[in-house]
Amino acid sequence: MTPYRCSCPVDGLSWLSVLAPQKPDVFLTPPMPGSSVSGMVGLWPVSEWRCGQDGGREGLKEYCFSTPGPALGFLSYHAGFSGLGLSLPEPDFPAGVFRKYGVVLSPGSGARTVHIFAQNATLALHAERLLRGKRCFHAEIPELVSPVRASLDREAFEQRVRSAVEHILAGNVYQLNLSIRFETERPAGLESMSLFTQLMEVHPATFYALYYDSPFTILSTSPERFIKVCQGRVLSQPIKGTRLARTPLLAEVRALRASNKEDAELSMIVDLIRNDVSPHCEYGSVGVEGHKSVFEVDGLLQMYSNVTGRLRPGSTALDLLWDALPPGSVTGCPKKRAVEIIAGLEPHHREAYCGCLVAVHGPGDLDSSVAIRTAVVDENRSIFSFHAGSGIVVDSDPYTEYEETLAKAAKFLALGRRKRQ
């Protein structure tokens, strides 16, 4: 982004802790089996774009591409409503925010260095001093002492699953995602960066993101890539199909891959994602690779596929991302009808959940995650909230879908149980 770049030796990602007072925006993949550390951290924003003030997609493109340097941001679930031709009620939550920064930090390979990119030498020096500063130990994560309130209890959720199946039988949708919103009092002393880094150590996932937008802080621990565009090569990796990662693991993987229900669930979302990337991909370039691949995250086996393509001349990565909102793996199919039905079945708003976290590097380069396994701290209302959901198909068992939803919420629900165990 500028001539002012240098590297600073570090050990792992402990340097994130010294940045906490600066409230950095973070989009990182921690070191995991199969993937090395990568991503970026933005410090000291120099500009900001907010959805709704600058004309949506065109405004965001203008913001990201008219000046050099990467941008970090998020788009909420409801940012995609207008593109679907829907005017559903929107929550009192930002539809999207992107920022550019005075300093961008990027972990080097092996997490032994941090590369510093700065707008000027003074900022670079300031960042380097910070990184060389005394490491903070993790602040204790306070227990969630207040009861966790769910927007749907078991009975209500199972009733909604039955309603979703009725919509499927009537031909309104093939698949429908249903979610529950959980919320509790924000415990005194909860420090977002400490929670972020501790979750990253205990529950590594591919897409950790931390984004401050006062009074909200979004804390995302997603295993799912939404859209990546690298030098015009498009990749989306929808996840569908979940099974507890019990031993013997290989037998569970085989069982997941052999399940007709899970197979159908993934296949229809793969077709949906193919559809959603196609408007901005060259004809004949959209393909599917590694169908029904399996990985483990949060104690769950998850099945996914790689949908690939080549960006069409005249389209940018942001055109593709914007027109694919909201991510199809968390709506259902056909998407427009699914989103309408979800609005009628869920008694809550999804807010940041089921939107996406995004790192934009240029017109042909970005990466983004689906904002699942994502929590939000609301400082004004002193609320800690998170959502979890499940894909409903015609042969879904309401009891099992509820259990799957709770399993996906487990890493946040466990915060309230740690000390009682």
Binding site: E265, M268, R274, G284, P334, K336
Partner: protein, 177 residues
Amino acid sequence: MRILMVDNKDSFTRNLEHLIVAASGSVPVIVPYATFFPEMVHGYDVTVLSPGPGHPDDYPGYKGLFGPGRPVLGICLGLQIINVHFGGAVDRLQGCIHGRISRFTLFGKEIEAARYHSLYLSQVAADLDVLAEFQGIPMAAKHKRLPVLGLQFHPESFLTPQGEGIIRDALQMLLSG
């Protein structure tokens, strides 16, 4: 070839667009169902009705589309719209099927076809000939006299490996009269 495709608010329409380009070499013009009117098809060689949610009764805008010299290809809901228009019935399919493959014969070839349908042609219109079926469920049908043809399955799915050839054969059948 000039192709008009009407998008019935579906999430597979752009897959169908890419497949039509591969099969015909022509880029279809896509119009949303909400803005479609039958006179729009003048100037096009064929009109494609995309898949979509709901029952054919939810789509009254196609009244007036079908007639001599107006080739129409319907996919999934598109076939069901054709069937209801010509007097057939569409109802819920016991054991509805989504995202799964069935094998049957179409245009003289054994094919693997992706199926996504909760509804089916419970009574085939008298003017339609069934071209393919799977376990008694119509999978393709063509009007006896008019250039109107429909497919119940999804040739545009990645689970239908012969999709390009199927679209090519279907267009050829429609345009050859």
